[in-house]
């Protein structure tokens, strides 16, 4: 018998009833994050079946997807059509009703920890090594950065977890991604994950849980590890994990929901066992050396259509490729560098944390956003906003001409009023460049916060290495 992977260990610890040929495993969930968009129909299911929420104490509720990124002092603000359409406003109000009715604590407007689901879990210390964490949002893979097993679920499954704290699951396969090399200046974690998706494709991880391993990963801070795990789903993977280490524990210590006192020591002892055994094997292995990695930018309409910033767009020529470059109004054999930019968006569950805000502030300090560009900076949570302002970062942003907005998913998916217009090009630190993702007809170029900031200053897609 070989040893166990990190994924095996977390899986085994949560099996209530093992899977058989006829039935999937009954699988326990330790933390369920709920938001306003993918839960209303699940709460309706509970009402129809007269079921309570089994463990309200294991729910973490907030509002992020369809919320406006202007201040909401009270809910009447949502009735202003310039701020919110009626449907999202209704959804937000319904979330408040649902949480009250089912006894779930809601981090709503004005709460220090309202924010993007995958930002607040780690921020309050609810995201912990060895936990199973789900949310009706595919970027739940973010929590894997702590050695948790985090994955996205649909609304039917949201109902399952609300009612039983369990899911019906078949165990996924395992995949090791070994990353070696040291990042060059101006190149960041976002570039690593974009390069990986470019290498293995948007279905390269389908059916698998990825474990990111290697010296490069060990050198990354928690914000950077979250950026990498966050986009596991963009390679089709069910989840992405990183074994916890001293960096993880240092980040967590003292956070509200993290264990305290003697419980902390007991927990750290348990967490230290959460690593892949030396004699364990994976179903699939991939290696990536990032020593010479350049900043990455996408040119097409999925995150796998990505190119190094100094290189031309490759000529692939199949139907999907042609449809993508036609939509993006770019040409094969031409570089993305120098393409005119309309909007720069810094935010989302991929890149809206302090590390990202620091990088942007450092590059923007004393500079101006080009006159043809609207730059929006949207922190991942209300707590991050407060922290950034305490450090004076907002003054740098606004002095440069960027907008400093309220926390939320914002222009990552265009569910609120932050949308691209038809044909507008946005350099975005978010995770998806799908057609119309940021607004119908909008064109998205995914990049790191560094590349986004360089492009905001230049007014065209620019190489951050020229601006640091």
């Amino acid at each position: 018998m070989g040893g166990k992977t990190l994924f095996d260990k977390v899986w085994d610890d949560h099996v209530v009833v093992p899977e058989s040929e006829q039935t999937p495993a009954v699988f326990y969930i330790d933390l369920h994050i709920v938001h306003e968009v993918t839960t209303p129909q699940a709460f309706n299911m509970l009402r129809e079946n007269k079921l309570p929420v089994r463990r309200p104490d294991l729910m973490l509720a907030t509002m992020d997807h369809s919320t406006p990124t202007v201040p909401v002092k009270d809910l009447s603000v949502l009735d202003d059509p310039a701020i919110s359409a009626p449907e999202p406003a209704k959804q937000i109000r319904q979330m408040i009703v649902n949480c009250e009715e089912f006894g779930i604590e809601l981090h709503g407007f004005g709460d220090h920890h309202r924010g993007i689901v995958h930002v607040i879990g780690p921020e309050i210390g609810a995201t912990q090594p060895g936990k199973t964490i789900v949310c009706g949002d595919s970027h739940s893979s973010t929590h894997g950065a702590f050695g948790a097993l985090g994955f996205g679920i649909g609304t039917t499954e949201v109902g399952h977890v609300l009612a039983t704290q369990c899911l019906l699951q078949r165990k996924a396969k395992s995949m090791a991604v070994n990353i070696t090399g040291k990042l060059q200046p101006g190149v960041s974690a976002k570039d690593i994950i974009l390069a990986l998706i470019g290498k293995i494709g948007v279905d390269g991880g389908t059916g698998h849980v990825i474990e990111y391993r290697g010296e490069t990963i060990r050198d990354l801070n928690m914000d950077e590890r979250m950026t990498i795990c966050n986009m596991s789903i963009e390679a089709g993977a069910r989840a992405g994990m990183i074994a916890p280490d001293e960096t993880t524990f240092a980040y967590m210590k003292g956070r509200d929901k993290a264990p305290q006192g003697a419980d902390w020591d007991t927990a750290v002892k348990r967490w230290k066992s959460l690593k892949t055994d030396a004699d364990a094997s994976f179903d699939k292995e991939v290696s990536l050396d990032i020593s010479d990695l350049e900043p990455q930018v996408t040119f097409g309409t999925n995150p796998g259509m990505v190119v190094s910033i100094s290189k031309p767009i490759p000529k692939i020529g199949d139907l999907s490729f042609n449809k993508a470059i036609d939509y993006m109004q770019v040409k094969a054999d031409q570089p993305m560098l120098g393409t005119k930019v309309d909007i720069v968006f810094v935010g989302s569950c991929t890149n809206s944390r302090m590390t990202d805000l620091h990088s942007v502030a450092k590059m923007l300090d004393g500079k101006k956003v080009a006159s043809n560009v609207r730059m929006m900076i949207v922190p991942g949570s209300e707590a991050l906003k407060v922290q950034a302002e305490a450090e004076g970062l907002h003054k740098i942003f606004t002095a440069a001409g960027a907008e400093w907005r309220e926390a939320g998913c914002s222009m990552c998916l265009g569910m609120n009023s932050d949308k691209l217009g038809k044909g507008q090009l946005c350099v975005s630190t978010s995770n998806r460049n799908f057609e119309g993702r940021q607004g119908p007809g909008g064109r998205t170029v995914l990049a790191s916060p560094e590349t986004a900031t360089a492009s905001a200053i230049a007014g065209v897609i620019a190489d951050p290495r020229d601006y640091i």
Partner: protein, 194 residues
């Protein structure tokens, strides 16, 4: 959940690879708190122009689309967001099976919970289906078999439990609820508490 054992119908073909759930239903339609009429939003930005007029050459706008209960799609259909609104909108539109050489994990899982059958076939069969839109095929869930008008029959993989639920027209929540005592015991016996 609607029951399905065996169904014969024409196919509609969308030969694009990596169709993501943002295309199947754009995020602006996720502001609903119900599932009513969600089929109207299916492929909204590919079916309609900015003025709301139907784009004639889009396959789902074909005059005989009501007769096409199977969608043949390019590789890696349903990637991206976990929104269950994607299978809801396909089902509400009238689609009962999605056939491809590869279907993204979360979409496939969500489909199974709604009686929308994900049919994964080998490359040769996939290529034939892509090249023959409107072909009348049979999805036999009982036999786990897809039958083509050429006489060829291929088996497709499907989780036993999900298949059982669709064959019987029952949802999966009931099975979880039957395990509520096991869940309680698990919670009391854990070596640590979340």
């Amino acid at each position: 959940m609607e029951q399905l054992t065996q169904l014969t119908s024409k196919t509609t073909v969308l030969p694009i690879d990596d169709v993501d759930t943002d295309q199947i239903i754009p995020a602006r339609f996720l502001t609903t708190t119900t599932r009513d009429g969600i089929g109207k939003a299916l492929f909204a930005d590919w079916r309609f122009d900015a003025q709301g007029n139907a784009i004639k050459d889009f396959p789902l706008n074909a005059p005989d689309i009501a007769d096409c209960k199977f969608l043949v799609a390019g590789r890696n259909f349903g990637c991206g967001s976990s929104r269950e609104h994607a299978p809801w909108s396909l089902f509400d539109f009238g689609i009962r099976a999605v056939i491809s050489s590869e279907i993204a994990d979360i979409f496939r899982n969500n489909s199974l919970k709604n009686g929308l059958v994900p049919v994964i076939v080998d490359n040769d069969t996939h290529q034939w289906l892509l090249a023959n839109p409107g072909a009348e095929v049979t999805v036999d869930l009982e036999a786990r078999e897809l039958r083509l008008p050429t006489g060829k029959a291929v088996t497709f993989p499907i989780d036993n439990f999900a298949r059982h639920c669709i064959l019987e027209g029952i949802d999966q929540t009931g099975y979880l609820m039957q395990n509520i005592d096991n869940i309680g015991r698990f919670e009391s016996n854990r070596s640590w508490q979340p």
